[in-house]
Symmetry: none
Subunit: 209 residues, 4 copies
DNA sequence: TATGAATGAGTATTCATTCAT
DNA sequence: TATGAATGAATACTCATTCAT
């Protein structure tokens, strides 16, 4: 390729810079929202002038799509591994939650952007995103289903609801901690897993009392 | 006086129209976000031309503030009554959650707007809003604190965390149902209360197992 | 006429109200300028609602024209009498200046509006205004011309320039006092007349020294 | 450094363009007033599209402030030099008036804008402007005060009034000539100085006659 | 790789004016 | 005599995007 002097080196550098651009976009999107972010603000964060941004990304819209896709797809990949590995569903759930919390902490900007700004991703990209999100939730669902089937979780546990609820709780606590700027306290994942287990999977069904 | 009467009538009509304007704003804000909403869109929803809107509201910004303030303040009022009435903390929590879910259902647009768009309310109005939100959460906190003190909830229940978690779960389920356009299924509030009780207030603390 | 119950009474009342409207317009124009004045502001000053104004005036533009014309025409009338009356040009000038200062004080809003806002009167009305203003200046000019002809003013006094200068000085001092909110101090007109006489009409022509 | 050089060049070009923008704004403000000037009109004068203007100036308001500040501050600087240089107060006054007239001619748009539109500069910028204007007037005042102290001007000359009057006369004649589009006739400054000297500083006080 | 000039379209807000009541 | 609802046009300002250099 004419562009990179050494193909490898050039591409790697380019790739690196490209990630930096996405990081900057994610940071701005997380802080001010997609519509509240100007391309100038992203550029400024990178020490570039506005126009230059378009060398790296084709549009602000596309940047949002990429930010939303990148981490979600990696998250699905990671979670798949956990679910694929056999083991006690209860342990699996703990690991899954720990995994999820790690991402919330490590990729805060990407997660926040995905959670709050995905509404601005429409069309094919939006459908792709919705699909990825569904796959992620289904993996949690599967853990609950297995747990119920094996008698580890209580019989009236609704896997779909449990999966949704688990993510809601994990995200709420995970992002609350973020909002305060502090890293997640170490026991958080464990504590949330217990909360979920008691409330959604193992506790006595209250309504029956 | 003839004028007094006509003035009354005028004011009532004006007041009504004002609420309609806020409703329309809330609906648009909930659907497209504050920044994604143009004043023209609000006007269109009301069958007005854009400029006319400013006869009722001083600015889009102020409309957002009012939308965010109106329902939250009423919610605090309602919840205060529930908490003030004496009774079993467990029953109080159930009533509180039911009350909260009713608002999520009945004032969907206002609640969504508050939850997602309040970040765009800055300055004094923002501080007021934060204060109202804090008061609301504190009322839930108080229920948990009383429950722990009276031995109805488990000893290691952290009232602040429990209050936060309760709202996170209630909002997540309440608004998920909304997103699908359907009204909340009748048992939802009860079911969520059980979830919260098992997970946050009464279940065995897993970590100790 | 169908409109007034008693023609006389109705018209007089109407006439009065009409003057009040013009006064209010003049006051706003003087304070905020023509473009800086909204019809709502004029209406407010009168205790009316915006729309009602159009019962009295056909347009904001026309209101400006009337404000500018009214006092200038009366001023021309008054000054003509002074100039017509025979007498020492020096005394005439004193009287003319006193007359001018009285108007600046008594019709402050009208004078300010005329002086600063007449640029916004275009078309036939603008030409009429320019003509009236020219007639006014010419009357001063005439005093100087007579004074020179009769040997009361120095020979090299340029009547046109002297007239222009006289008005500039009178307006500047007259309106400065106004700006400070105080009524013109009693001796002002006399003092200004002396200034003008020394500087423009009687003093030794410096350039010759 | 290559960048340094290009930056220099860029800055100089930018600076130049910036002055052109202010010149255009001043021209429009002088012709149509601040409120009568649309940003589009300024842009058109520069051959730009409206939006582009905001690359050079942050707002129309700020442009007005800059137009008003720029020349007034330079004028104060120039006048200070004249007053600082020792010499006959009478000669000083002549120089000061000549200096003032030169500015009226050379920076007509800026001066007109300052004189007529400064009322639209409020807040801190307005206070700064008022201060600069006061300093300018005080410098003239000082000339008169010195002249009286040294017995060159008549004893009952009021320096503050004389300064105000001098500026009123100079502005009136200076801007009248401008309005007619012609440059100031050569002897004007001299002639005005004589007028001022006779009327304000040296003539016999008429009232005593 | 980077800059800055340029643009076109969009958006909130204001306001003179009209009209039915 | 007065009101309030309604409108259409204007206007300041922002911003994503392009392109010559």
């Amino acid at each position: 390729m004419a562009r990179g002097r050494s193909k490898q080196g050039g591409n790697r550098k380019r790739e690196t810079r490209w990630r930096e651009v996405l990081d900057a976009a994610a940071a701005e999107f997380a802080e001010h929202g997609f519509l509240g972010t100007s391309t100038g603000a992203i550029a400024k964060r990178l020490g570039l002038r506005q126009g230059r941004l378009y060398y790296y990304i084709p549009s602000k819209q596309r940047a949002l799509e990429l930010v939303c896709q990148l981490s979600t797809e990696e998250m699905v990949g990671g979670l798949m591994e956990i679910v694929a590995r056999d083991g006690d569903p209860l342990e699996q759930l703990r690991r899954a939650i720990a995994f999820h919390m790690e991402w919330l902490g490590g990729r805060r900007d990407y997660c926040l952007t995905f959670l709050r700004e995905r509404r601005h991703v429409a069309g094919p990209a939006g459908r792709l995103l919705a699909d990825t999100a569904r796959r992620y939730e289904r993996l949690f669902e599967q853990i609950f289903r297995t747990g119920v089937a094996r008698g580890r979780f209580r019989a009236d546990c609704n896997p779909a609801q449990a999966a949704f609820g688990t993510l809601a709780i994990a995200n709420a606590f995970g992002l609350r901690a973020q909002r305060r700027g502090a890293p997640l306290p170490p026991g958080t994942a464990r504590w949330i897993a217990d909360l979920v287990l008691d409330g959604l999977a193992c506790g006595k069904a209250r309504a029956k009392r």
